[in-house]
């Protein structure tokens, strides 16, 4: 049909690959190399010696890093699940034809539109134990009952999870919505004519056709969730008692606060490996068939 013009495709890919090479691949390589050296900013006399896998051995025995990993895992699983669920519901809602749905779409995008640092400050303000609106909403004037959300290890993590769900559900909704809007109306008409109920229409028409969009949303949300930083940084700085010390925040503290570049890079590489494994698993299990099926 159309000529398989390899040279053209390569030329089209070239600019993208160039940008990615310079700004992502090269820095990643440098980071990986750093993880094999002992680099401490405060002690330049060390001369950054090569230490092989010592950083990784240290990471393996680091109880704080282990704790960070579990905190991050909990964060990722909870937020991804709820964001996809809410995203799907929101997308289905917006997809319905009713007057004013353009404004609804705009409303729903507002959380996503606010800069993360601002929304983190906002939630910090709302969760405040003395003048926060959330306490007021639940307990009214009973100031003595107010909960110090960000001061207790359990509720602090909950607060960050809620803040992320609020902000990112619309991201998932937007992606799934785009997938929904490609489904031709005729398929629904045909199903209606065949007497299919709303649930059967959803399960047999909608669900199979939006799986690619859901997969993309799932994939990118998981990747992003593993790298959460801004929320924890602004709302709690990783506390209290390391309850919200997510991996990227721990890595940041090691690299930029303690000046331990080598070890910090080790943490980054580990996060990268974890996420890479996850992505491969996703695509293997679900993706490839979908990518192929969509043609």
């Amino acid at each position: 049909m159309i000529p398989k013009d390899r040279k053209l495709y390569l030329a089209l890919l070239a600019p993208t690959l160039l940008v990615l090479l310079v700004f992502i691949v090269a820095p990643i390589t440098q980071s990986i190399i750093s993880s094999f050296h002992r680099i401490i900013i405060g002690l330049p006399q060390l001369n950054s010696p090569f230490i092989g896998l010592e950083n990784y051995q240290e990471l393996f025995h680091d109880s704080v890093a282990r704790h960070s990993f579990w905190v991050t895992l909990l964060f990722v699983s909870t937020t991804t699940f709820f964001e996809l669920l809410l995203g799907l519901l929101l997308a289905l809602l917006i997809h319905h034809r009713f007057p004013g749905r353009g404004s609804l779409r705009a409303c729903v995008l507002i959380p996503w539109a606010i800069p993360t640092v601002v929304s983190a400050q906002m939630w910090r303000f709302l969760f405040n134990d003395a003048y926060g609106m959330i306490n007021y909403a639940i307990f009214g004037h009973g100031v003595a009952h107010y909960i110090p959300w960000l001061a207790k290890p359990g509720t602090a993590l909950f607060a960050i999870i809620l803040a992320d769900i609020w902000k990112t559900s619309s991201f998932a909704a937007l992606l799934i919505l785009a997938g929904l809007q490609i489904i031709p109306e005729e398929l629904y008409q045909a199903a209606k004519v065949d007497g299919a109920s709303m649930w059967r229409r959803f399960w047999h028409v909608t669900w199979p056709l939006i799986r690619p969009a859901i997969l993309v949303a799932l994939l990118f949300r998981t990747i992003d969730a593993f790298r959460v930083f801004d929320l924890a940084f602004v709302m709690t700085q990783g506390g209290p008692a390391d309850a919200t010390n997510v991996l990227q925040l721990y890595g940041y503290k090691k690299m930029f606060v303690e000046g331990w570049m080598g070890y910090g890079s080790t943490i980054s590489v580990s996060v990268f490996v974890i996420v890479l494994v996850l992505a491969v698993v996703y695509v293997r299990m679900v993706g490839r068939r979908l990518l192929e099926a969509s043609l």
């Binding site: 134990d129 001061a151 008692a241 303690e258």
Partner: protein
Amino acid sequence: MNWRPLTKTIRLFILLAIVFLSVPSRASEPQTIVFLMWKPNQPEVRERLIERFHETHPNIRVQVQIGPHSSTEFHAIVTQRLKNKDTSVDVFLMDVIWPAEFASAGWAVDLTSRFSKKAQKAFLPATIAANTYHGRIYGVPYFLDAGLFYYRKDLLDKYSFDPPKSWHDMLAQGKAILKGEADPTLHIFSAQFKQYEGLVCDMLEFIWSHGGRIIDQRTGKVLVAEPPSIQAVTFVRDQIIGKAAPQGVINYEEPESLEVFLQGKAVFHRNWPYAWTVANDPERSKVAGRVGVGTLPAFPGHRPAAALGGWQFGISRWSEHVEEAWEFVEFMTSFDSQEILAIQAGLAPTRVAVYKDPVVQDKMPHLKDFLPAFKSARPRPVSPLYPMISQELQRFFSRAIAESKTDVQNLAQATSARIRRVVQMEAAVRR
């Protein structure tokens, strides 16, 4: 195949690239020095000072660049440039805990030849100590910060109390006042206990005033798991968090903890000197004019101790205008500048003479009250790896006080081991 459309695309791309590259980058003018600082509360005062510098030093222009307010974030920015040998910064501010790190890393110019011992004597000794590393001086103290004890003068007067000298007295007075006032939203105490650098300052004040220490600077021995320290930490966990102070202080930095006091919801408050001006500003504070300030309490048999804070000027090793930078630093830390900063910006001066200046005493009478507290100020452990030590301490303190039944002894010992490793790392390099 038809290449025309493709070359059109490529040309468009090149055009875009050219558009971007032709955005002019800042060319450096002769004798311009770059001063990197964070955003001050009253920028006009500093701007006026810099204008004055321009008038008296016509051959030098100072260009100010603003970084984040938070010490940790500012540290990230400054170190990023210095470790990459960036020549675009000449003068920068250093938090009181950085000079050792900057000196060891070779980022700050050794000022010993320019800043003579005689000139150093004009400054408060603790501030000079914080800028000295292995006998040489690497920064000039800009302004001073130390932990101060604020209290509601009106409430203490009402119940005929004198400002408490011990922590137990504070608790007793607080309980009496709370009972008398019958206000369920009133607390005894408010301070900073979030897991950040401020936590280390507040906790050290408890530990030091109990005779405890973190590191013996001379022998390098780590003392954080010794009984005095453990007892002080346990005291905070059991008597302060959730009892004298609201549970929420575990997430408070300076602003939130101060808010509680400003709203009239705390009898006693620990904060830096800046809080004095804010607490007496009727637009921001409901207790303006009813506030007293003094030295922090201590435990019986021990002297009070305040954590030393404040900022210093440093000159970058990679600066191409070291002489001009020094002139700027000298100007900004001169008697006249410190006098202006004290009166107009409420910054506590580091020169002893300024406290005795009649104009300052007239316009800022409370500075005299601060002086004893400032004299009791102690620096945090001096080490190029202080950030690592601080992280371990923050972790330890936060874990110890966040819940009511924590094994402080165990946590302290684990922390002690980790801090010992850091000290050994530094020692190994010095050999």
